[in-house]
């Protein structure tokens, strides 16, 4: 497969005496030695890696590991101290401002941790920003932005403003803005880290879906190994500005390069990688304190489901109702929804590993309800989602 991005000896040193620090780094001195001797901080220490066309390449590390600096050097938001970035064989470091701007406009788009949406622009105006600054005419850019918004599932919000949308929806707009440019490379800097677990899982699935069709080269920054294992074709682990290991998820799980990586993986192993919280989906819920049979039926129809989860005002799980029972109620003109609620729903909590649930899930027809310690409904686990999550994830072999 052809190499889309090649990074050679990419280094970033912050602070004073950068020249001296650069020499020391070449002599192989450590980060702390250099800090002591020159006062300069090494952000990224001679990173080398290659990214294939059309793959998701996850750069993993804890905060302060230099991963965000590294991704910003790939589009030169941060000017590297040393090294090369080659995109389709062209050296980004040798480009003048104008050429670089063209590359940023046409080839690479970025998605930000806190979404980076412009608060003074509507959703549509945000999505079309990249096209607007290229001078694409209004009609065409609207069409492209609309398509991108539809791709990420945001419709009917074109004239709203970002702060009127939830975090998950804002990040979908961020993704749509990136896709509207039709770039070859997507840079995603902790794109899903600011989202709650349920939304994060949704977004990961959606990204994989979109990637299936578009085959972009995606550079994804994450501090979450579960996320890295789920998304990455290759994973690169960083620590203190150094690249510790690069490989497929399988490589990293089976041959950890050192204790540091091993420690990471052990944490993953203990939790058996996927928990109920990772694979749960949003259920159709009915608030029994507010809704009667007719509303229930309508909502079930709209969502095309035959069972709905019944909760109370505090979102505490009460049970499930079956569409046939509700239809009976409506026919007999009864409003007593409680009489048809079935309370024997299998429940579990978010932390439960999927492996512990596998047997039960395959036996019962009813999806598991995931509740927290207050008994509030957080999500449900359907068989399809579990299998999908396991199939899309090499980790299942290692459980």
């Amino acid at each position: 497969m052809s190499k889309k991005v090649e990074v050679k000896n990419l280094t970033k040193i912050f602070g004073k005496h950068v020249g001296r620090a650069k020499e020391l780094i070449k002599q192989g001195k450590s980060k702390s030695e250099i800090l002591k001797e020159t006062g300069a901080t090494v952000g990224v220490d001679q990173a080398n890696f290659e990214i294939d066309d059309g793959e998701i390449f996850v750069i993993m590390g804890l905060s302060g590991s230099g991963k965000s600096t590294l991704v910003r050097m790939i589009n030169r938001l941060i000017e590297p101290t040393d090294g090369e970035v080659l995109i389709d064989g062209e050296n980004l470091m040798e480009m003048d401002k104008k050429t670089l701007r063209e590359v940023r406009r046409k080839k690479m788009s970025m998605v930000f941790q806190n979404f980076g949406l412009l608060p003074n622009r509507t959703i549509m105006e945000n999505a079309e920003y990249g096209l607007e600054i290229q001078g694409v005419d209004k009609e065409e850019r609207r069409k492209k932005a609309q398509k991108a918004l539809e791709q990420v599932g945001i419709t009917g919000y074109n004239d709203e403003y970002p702060d009127q949308l939830s975090g998950g929806m804002q990040q979908r707009v961020g993704l749509a803005r990136a896709l509207a440019n039709d770039p070859q490379i997507l840079l995603m800097d902790e794109a899903f880290s600011a989202l709650d677990p349920l939304n994060r899982t949704d977004m990961q699935d959606q990204l994989l879906d979109i990637q299936e069709g578009l085959k972009k080269t995606i550079i994804f920054i994450s501090h979450d190994l579960n996320e890295a294992l789920k998304l990455g074709d290759h994973i690169m682990i960083m620590r203190d500005g150094e690249v510790i290991q690069t490989g497929t998820p399988e490589d990293i799980l089976t041959h950890p390069a050192n204790d540091y990586v091993e420690e990471f993986i052990e944490n993953v192993d203990r939790s058996k990688v996927l928990t109920a919280g990772n694979v749960m989906i949003r259920p159709v819920t009915i608030n029994i304190d507010k809704a009667g049979p007719r509303l229930t039926l309508k909502r079930m129809k709209n969502n095309e489901v035959s069972t709905a989860y019944v909760v109370d005002n505090k979102r505490k799980l009460i049970g499930i109702v079956d569409a046939n029972d509700v239809i009976d109620l409506v026919r007999h003109d009864s409003s007593d929804l409680r009489s048809v609620v079935k309370t024997d729903v299998p429940t579990t909590n978010e932390e439960t590993p999927i492996s512990d649930l596998m047997d039960d899930i395959s036996q019962t027809g009813i999806p598991f309800a995931v509740t927290n310690d207050k008994g509030q409904l957080r999500g449900i686990i359907v068989r399809g989602a579990v299998l999908g999550a396991l199939a899309g994830n090499e980790v299942s072999e290692f459980e």
């Binding site: 406009r105 980076g116 412009l118 622009r121 990249g130």
Partner: protein, 281 residues
């Protein structure tokens, strides 16, 4: 201290001003230019009948507050302007308004670009900061002296002194507004390949707008506070009425004209504040 001779600071400044005076042509051009703007405003204000003027101000207030109407302000404006008319201060009020609008406009046209420059360049910030402090803290009276030497007497030196005194907030708030644009938005603008101008006009200025408009509002209020001082060098308007009242020990006349200034100040303040407020919801 007696062993050190007194520094001839005053002499130096005198000779600097004297040196400046030789560029008569340059200062005349500025005088004509500022005078032109001033006269244009005044010409329009004199042309409009008073009842129509009041109606226009009410309509403007109604329009800028259209999403969130404030009836009490409309009533206040109506009664306040009627009072000014009744007290026979109308023409003085329009002269003061002209002075404020002209000096605010000039302060804006010079101040906003300076603020942008200050936000973009560290060197500009280091140089401009003490200059702005100087401009704002130097007693405003002091500006009148060279202003008269360079621009004669009348409206123009009054406007020049007002501009110097009133401009700093616009510069400062523009600078602050742009510097406070979140890094991630700057990165977003850069990463999509915006040019510097696109970044400025599509991202930085729109987001800095609230802060920038607060600066404009402050500048306007400061230039209004200059009207009495400016009247000492012949800038006509409500300030002149106050100044004359001081000379004649006429408390009643002074307060009446002062009240008219207050009414004008409140109207200008509320109008510019309404422009600042977010209308998107």
């Amino acid at each position: 201290m007696s062993s050190i001779p007194q520094l001839p600071l005053a002499d130096w400044i005198d000779s600097f001003v004297n040196w400046l005076v030789q560029f008569t042509g340059f200062f005349n051009a500025i005088t004509n230019f500022i005078g032109g703007i001033n006269n244009a405003f005044q010409w329009v204000f004199d042309l409009i009948p008073i009842w129509l003027f009041i109606a226009l101000i009410l309509a403007l207030t109604f329009y800028v507050n259209r999403k969130d109407q404030r009836w009490s302000l409309l009533i206040f404006e109506f009664l306040g302007l009627l009072l000014i008319w009744n007290l026979d201060f109308w023409r003085d009020m329009t002269q003061t308004l002209t002075l404020v609008l002209t000096s605010s406009l000039i302060a804006l046209v010079i101040g906003i670009p300076l603020g942008i420059l200050m936000a973009k360049s560290h060197i500009a910030e280091v140089i401009l900061k003490p200059v702005l402090d100087f401009m704002q803290t130097m007693p405003a009276f002091v500006y009148l002296i060279p202003a008269v030497a360079l621009f004669g007497i009348g409206m123009v030196p009054g406007i020049v002194a007002s501009v110097i005194f009133a401009m700093p907030p616009t510069v400062r708030m523009t600078n602050m507004g742009i510097r406070e644009v979140p890094d991630e938005l700057i990165e977003a603008a850069d990463s999509y390949g915006s040019t510097e101008w696109q970044k400025l006009f599509k991202v930085e200025l729109p987001i800095a707008k609230t802060s920038l408009m607060a600066g404009v509002n402050q500048s306007m209020m400061l230039s209004l506070s200059m009207v009495v001082i400016a009247s000492m060098i012949g800038a006509m308007g409500l300030g002149t009425k106050v100044y004359f009242a001081v000379g004649r020990n006429d408390a009643g006349g002074g307060f009446a004209a002062g009240l008219a200034i207050v009414i004008l100040a409140i109207i200008l303040d509320r109008l510019t504040q309404s422009l600042t407020r977010d209308h998107k919801k």
